[in-house]
Symmetry: C2
Amino acid sequence: MSTGPSGRKPNLAVVGATGAVGTVMLGILSERADVWGEIRLVASARSAGRKLIVRGEETEVVALEEEAFDGIDVAMFDVPDEVSARWAPIAAAKGVVVVDNSGAFRMDADVPLVVPEVNPHAVRVRPRGIIANPNCTTLSMIVAIGALHAEFGLSELIVSSYQAVSGAGKEGVDTLRSQLAAVAGTELGTAPGDVRRAVGDTGPFPAPMALNVVPFAGSLREDGWTSEELKVRNESRKILGLPELPVTATCVRVPVITTHSLTVHARFEKEVTVGRAHDILRSAPGVVLCDNPAEGEFPTPADAVGTDPTWVGRVRRSMDDARALELFVCGDNLRKGAALNTAQIAEVVAAELTSS
Amino acid sequence: MSTGPSGRKPNLAVVGATGAVGTVMLGILSERADVWGEIRLVASARSAGRKLIVRGEETEVVALEEEAFDGIDVAMFDVPDEVSARWAPIAAAKGVVVVDNSGAFRMDADVPLVVPEVNPHAVRVRPRGIIANPNCTTLSMIVAIGALHAEFGLSELIVSSYQAVSGAGKEGVDTLRSQLAAVAGTELGTAPGDVRRAVGDTGPFPAPMALNVVPFAGSLREDGWTSEELKVRNESRKILGLPELPVTATCVRVPVITTHSLTVHARFEKEVTVGRAHDILRSAPGVVLCDNPAEGEFPTPADAVGTDPTWVGRVRRSMDDARALELFVCGDNLRKGAALNTAQIAEVVAAELTSS
Ligand SMILES: NC(=O)c1ccc[n+]([C@@H]2O[C@H](COP(=O)([O-])OP(=O)(O)OC[C@H]3O[C@@H](n4cnc5c(N)ncnc54)[C@H](OP(=O)(O)O)[C@@H]3O)[C@@H](O)[C@H]2O)c1
Ligand SMILES: NC(=O)c1ccc[n+]([C@@H]2O[C@H](COP(=O)([O-])OP(=O)(O)OC[C@H]3O[C@@H](n4cnc5c(N)ncnc54)[C@H](OP(=O)(O)O)[C@@H]3O)[C@@H](O)[C@H]2O)c1
């Protein structure tokens, strides 16, 4: 697989290389099997000239403009929605295969939404030359759910999230860290509004994150649902190929730096057992089963952060419904939830380009 | 109502006056209409002689022994299960009406489990002379659920909790505060195990609480369920008088000092609308509706802590089931979740004693 489109390894652009996702991406590109020729780092004009390390080499960041895609075969976009919406089609028009991490194209019928462990085949059908990466909340659970679905046939999902602040980018992390500095060593957290007064600025969040949980992520949409909750619903349906699947999500932000967790109530067409679910999860690619609470084994963000797989534990069968399972799931929102999945998709494209 | 059992106000003992719940109880007794004669403070022999303030007066703590109940009409027990299990029957045998906050008697068929807004009538039938107070997780949602049930007829509950560390008593609070001091000002939270190494001792919790969420509260019971999850199920059924109600809970601890939150998926016999649910919650005693996300209004623990009511927001009707509502609920686990509900029950008993 060392020969690319013209007998060479394909060239890659990382657009948004300086952001929260981009930073993790550079680490991932340095760790994984090296399928790339040039790796070009792109960000806003503000960052042009900065030097970042990828594959052990200092690489200068270039500004996002049309020329940034000259000679590039595959581009990963780790930038805000509006930047992707404008620039992904420009890159695609130049023949670049775009793997986009933003929300701009995920529900576009002509853009596949891909999780390589679940629907790798979808990569090949990309009429717009763009492949979308799911949002991090969906990604933090969907590999495990996909494996159970393949065996039991999913019929309903009801999930609640425990989302890390890095889901709101670098600004989210900085906000929680400075709020924690303001509350640590105090007696705050027992009088109404005391935390709110102490932390001051809430940054990108609609309420304090330190010593708090915030039942609102994203923006407000129809009938009281948030954009984040609708993403979990619509993206899960699209990835699993179940356009009518009932999916209900309540998305809540928690004071964790990185790694999203979810409680999952999953109902299936077939009867389930914990033993069979354990077997499936134990052998599913990209999943780690961590479920022995008698020995203190269950996933937590503090243990799952920085790792690639989806961690699954607290597997129970509903006491009222032999076809329903309860799970607790953790996934690093910057790795599998963003950069890793994008890298995996890009590698599938690279393999296709080099074999064609 | 100024004349008690023998023409006087009834005398009250607060057993466990020095604990997390007891401390909040002394504040609540100082704020509410004063229906009590003597208030006697009781704790372990370790605390005997300590002076605490209640109703503005310094009061000496006495040790828990039979004589502590001499002349007492009503005793609140805010002590560990095993202390209640031993001492509540001793007090009851002396004619004292016991209101117990522990888990020792809640599922005893001869002990009513009471939430005054939901089943106040149950107070009067107490063959053992003991009335039980529900656990704080159930109490943090049940007033709102009870109001909706009265109108729509509840048919299923699926809940996930976001439980504060003070649910594990003073030791839980001390543990989170010292862990926060260890992680504040650091870059921790992005490498596997870095938080675990930094915080060291996990205190009463099975994993670090700072920068983490922990999907395990209480102790392990049958089929992978925790004691906390089974309490939510069994106590909700008993309080609502629905012994067959399907109830599924996943209980997760979060780094919040005080106030439990829950996401609730509630299915009803009748069709629901958000408008009607709003009307019910707006007029329900003990509930505050806080549901205008367009204006940033939703409940969070930081705002609900230190207040009496159950806060409800993020009310949505399921997109797949016209009979299901999604809610986010917050309740102070030490006030309504413990001390306040106990005080309310004791006041119902006091009114009964003084009117009989
Ligand atoms: N954080 C997550 O968990 C997560 C998960 C899945 C998907 N995503 C998505 O991934 C994307 C990036 O998120 P993030 O969290 O990494 O955000 P971030 O930390 O704010 O980084 C944003 C990146 O975009 C670049 N950028 C911003 N405006 C630009 C412009 N006009 N032209 C060129 N580059 C521009 C920034 O470059 P400068 O440094 O030069 O400003 C930076 O590299 C977003 O669409 C987000 O929704 C995030
Ligand atoms: N925390 C909550 O959110 C919550 C909510 C609902 C119900 N509850 C229940 O309420 C009870 C108290 O909880 P907590 O959180 O307040 O616990 P805590 O902070 O540990 O306080 C325990 C109290 O019990 C006393 N005590 C312990 N052993 C005793 C003994 N052998 N004899 C006499 N007194 C003894 C302690 O007195 P010393 O100070 O003298 O040791 C202290 O006053 C528990 O059953 C708990 O499950 C707690």
